[in-house]
């Protein structure tokens, strides 16, 4: 796979505070990448460097074979920056048209793109509205819309669904999922369930240091399933261990079990569900592999 984004030994310091410390990673074409980490971990700093808003202290960033700020990236790399908003004096249509024109579209195409992206985020009736007339969630959606103008190949979304109501957040997730075949998304969010649905690769930042996690479920000769039950008992763990093919079981949290099984065991998931049915267990969720939360915070288990 060809790397769309290559980051090598990236460092950024604000005074004495090291916001990013030797961060290196690659993002390949077609991947949907989650950038997670606690508050102050350096996520927005990393986003800002990738977008060219901040100059790194050291290290190299290569995007589609180009240096940061290369005009060839205009229209190819777009972003939803955190806390950025449009000019309150102009209508959405005027500003989105203007962005389209800056990306080299002609007037007619820019107009069409504006309509397309506003419709994509559910704001088709708000062409002539000004940003101050919109709710917080609608403002966010407009900012997402501007990131989708034209044919971007990489879109960075910083907290895209933060502050959105569940329905709109779902719509945005749907938009991201539907475009992820053509666009490489990098998403930052605190909603691990959301990232779990959308992302196949995880970058975990903590205190400026990065660890990467591939969401591939297969590790050597074993594979993993995460089973969440509606009710469990003291014996549940032992009962799962007795299932044929199981190598190891651990309880990650209340009613949630991580099951390691032999990778050559065919249709183990069906085998497990039949076992649940036989024991009259009702399950809430069955995840192929580890949940993102466990992957990030319970690696040792």
């Amino acid at each position: 796979m060809s790397a769309l984004i290559e980051v090598n030994n990236l460092c950024k310091a604000f005074g004495d505070k090291q916001a990013l410390n030797n961060v290196s990673f690659d993002v390949n074409k077609g991947q949907t990448v989650a950038l997670v980490g606690p508050n102050g971990a350096g996520k927005t700093t990393l986003f800002s460097i990738l977008c060219g808003y901040l100059v790194p202290s050291s290290g190299a960033v290569n995007i589609m074979g180009k240096q940061l700020g290369d005009p060839a990236l205009f229209g190819q790399l777009s972003a939803l920056p955190q806390d950025a908003t449009l000019d309150p004096r102009f209508s959405l249509q005027k500003q989105l048209n203007f962005y389209g024109r800056l990306q080299g579209l002609n007037k007619q195409k820019a107009n069409m793109e504006t309509s397309r992206v506003l419709e994509l985020v559910g704001l088709a009736d708000n062409h002539h509205a000004k940003i101050a007339e919109l709710s917080h969630g609608m403002k966010k959606r407009v900012c997402i819309a501007q990131a989708l103008i034209g044919s971007p190949r990489i879109v960075l979304l910083d907290e895209a669904t933060a502050g959105l109501d569940p329905l709109n957040a779902r719509e945005i997730r749907h938009v991201i999922a539907s475009l992820s075949e053509d666009i490489t998304f990098i998403l930052s969010s605190h909603d691990l369930a959301e990232l779990e649905k959308l992302c196949d690769h995880v970058l975990y930042l903590n205190q400026g240091q990065l660890t990467t996690h591939n969401r591939d479920t297969k590790q050597g000769t074993s594979q993993y399933l995460t089973l969440t039950l509606i009710h469990d008992s003291r014996d549940t763990l032992e009962q799962i261990k007795q299932l044929s093919g199981v190598l190891h079981v651990s309880q990650s949290q209340n009613k949630e079990y991580i099951i390691e099984y032999q990778s050559h065991f065919e249709q183990f998931d069906i085998h497990l569900l039949k076992y649940c049915h036989k024991l009259n267990w009702q399950y809430r969720q069955l995840v192929n592999g580890h949940t993102l939360e466990n992957q990030l915070f319970q690696k040792d288990k």
């Binding site: 977008c51 777009s78 920056p81 806390d83 950025a84 908003t85 203007f98 800056l102 501007q146």
Partner: protein, 269 residues
Amino acid sequence: MSIFRVWQLAQFELTRLFATKRGLLALGAFAMVWFMIQNYLIAQAVPFLSSPEFADITGQLAGNIGLRELVSWPEAELAVFWIIALYSFPAFSLFVCSDQTVGDRLRGTLRFISLRCTREEILVGRFLGQLFIIAILIFLTVLATFILMIYRDLNLLGSGALLSVTVTAQLILIVMPFIALMSLLNLITSSSRLSVVLAILLFTLGNALISYLSYYLPILSWLLYVYPGVQILDVAPQHSFSLIDWLLPVAQTMGLLTLSILTFKRRSL
């Protein structure tokens, strides 16, 4: 640098004045102020300047302040306009052009724009947009003065038209470095109001400080040439043409814009 993107940015600036409620209100206020100037200052002063009875007195008065050439212009309206515009437009442009990037930077709008054009293009585009706005306003005021003048004496149509074009071009050259200065100040302050305050301090305290220090160290007086408008006193009388006086604002503009670009490139957005 892409000319297309610079042009798009400059065009968008024009719509701030001509296609927003706030811009149109400002335009209305500007028109009213100039209506008063035309009606109560220029129109009232012209009879004195062009009257043979007062020719000696006005000639002597103007001569004392180095403006003898101006009072001898048959296009008296343009002469009065020139003196008023020469001092008012630079000050006016400091206020009008006080928000070239700072508002968008604080709001985050520049982040959207910087994903679509280089920082140089943003600065140059915004500068050109503001320059177009001021140039249009200068042109409109010159046109109003010209109409007032030919209403008084239609024989001045030809010479007045030529003089109007000259005065417009001269005023545009004079305001250029003031706009470029605001472009720079926008990058080092956190609001348009602070940019104006800093500009006022530069032109008052800064100027006084340099003048004071150059009394002891004369070489420092060269620093005054960094200041936009340093040549205004020399060009006001219009008695001779000095290329330096007209190259200086161009050089100052280029210098200030270069400094702005270097500052902007290092700035976080």
